[in-house]
């Protein structure tokens, strides 16, 4: 059983911690699961979420259901900030077809860390577009695959098509200090939006 910072309900007169969430997004294999695992105080959990997906371009036959259920893998982890605050981390699937799942996760979230592999930058566009359209605070974090430091920031920004107010940072999803500092950058950025 995982430990929880408070083990009694509100009836005991103990205040309940505030739950917050941050999303870790990006393309397939970019390191989302690794980062959630690096940051989480519990072993990162992977859930298969059954989701109803509206299919498009299907002939409107009465006998054919217009929805089908698909399964989406999602990682989650947890950081107990203090007695009064718990931060949940969600590693979310990068494909645009899963936008319906992002909507729920993005709602009320602090923001998102979009992980990028510079060898496959196209994979992050769906996430960047989504968070921009939704006006959710996000930072773009270049994951430390070999040779990524060879590119200057201006070139990376240009390639990623991100606006100048979106923080761009270098990280390593395997490193807890660097991963945590990605979260710090995100929260700092979110604060400028909240102000």
């Amino acid at each position: 059983m995982d430990s929880a910072p408070v083990d009694a309900g509100p009836e005991a007169g103990i205040s309940v911690p505030t739950p917050l969430k941050i999303l870790v997004a990006g393309g397939f294999g970019v390191g989302k699961t690794t980062m959630v695992g690096t940051l989480s105080e519990i072993p990162p959990l992977n859930t298969e979420q059954a989701m109803t997906e509206v299919s498009e371009g299907v002939d409107d036959l009465a006998a054919v259901p217009d929805k089908r259920t698909t399964t989406v893998a999602m990682d989650f982890g947890r950081i107990t900030i203090d007695d009064s605050m718990i931060l949940y981390l969600f590693g979310t699937p990068g494909q645009t077809r899963f936008w319906f799942m992002w909507d729920e996760l993005a709602s009320g979230a602090v923001g998102a860390v979009v992980l990028v592999d510079l060898r496959r930058i196209d994979d992050c566009f769906a996430a960047v577009d989504y968070f921009e359209n939704r006006r959710l605070p996000f930072v773009v974090a270049v994951n430390g695959f070999p040779d990524t430091h060879a590119f200057p920031e201006s070139e990376v920004r240009e390639a990623l098509l991100i606006s100048s107010d979106v923080p761009l940072i270098w990280t390593d999803a395997r490193d807890s200090e660097l991963s945590r500092s990605a979260l710090v950058s995100l929260v700092e950025h979110a604060l400028t939006r909240a102000a």
Partner: protein
């Protein structure tokens, strides 16, 4: 035991379709419960659990320690959507208290005060 099974085993191995547990409901009735909401058992829940179906009893057991909706889904090997309906049932019947995330500020996210506390906490860790 079915309900304690690891989530990996649940996808193909479940005898009863998960949505049968909720009578086909995929949305919680009455209130929406965000995925990170925390849940705790009430006194009524502690006393009344024995009369409930097994999946409800498992949730009440889990609620003895504060637990998030997403973690309940994981522990039961259920999609969050199904766990949400079951938790909502238990909240309606007074067996559980649901502690929702903080209300969002005008820009759509947590307030400046809450973000400031989060930032301090992350830096101190």
């Amino acid at each position: 035991m079915m309900w304690g099974a690891a989530p990996e085993a649940s996808a193909g191995g479940r005898v009863v379709p998960v949505y049968a547990l909720t009578n086909g409901r995929t949305r919680a009735v009455g209130r929406d419960i965000p995925i990170e909401s925390l849940v705790s058992v009430t006194e009524h829940g502690r006393r009344g659990a024995v009369a409930l179906d097994i999946e409800y009893r498992r949730i009440i057991e889990l609620g003895e320690r504060l637990i998030s909706l997403v973690e309940i889904g994981y522990a039961l090997g259920l999609p969050v959507g199904v766990a949400r309906v079951l938790v909502s049932d238990l909240a309606e019947s007074g067996h559980l208290s649901v502690h929702a995330p903080p209300p969002v500020a005008a820009y759509g996210g947590p307030s400046q005060e809450i973000l400031g506390r989060l930032l301090d906490g992350l830096r101190a860790c």
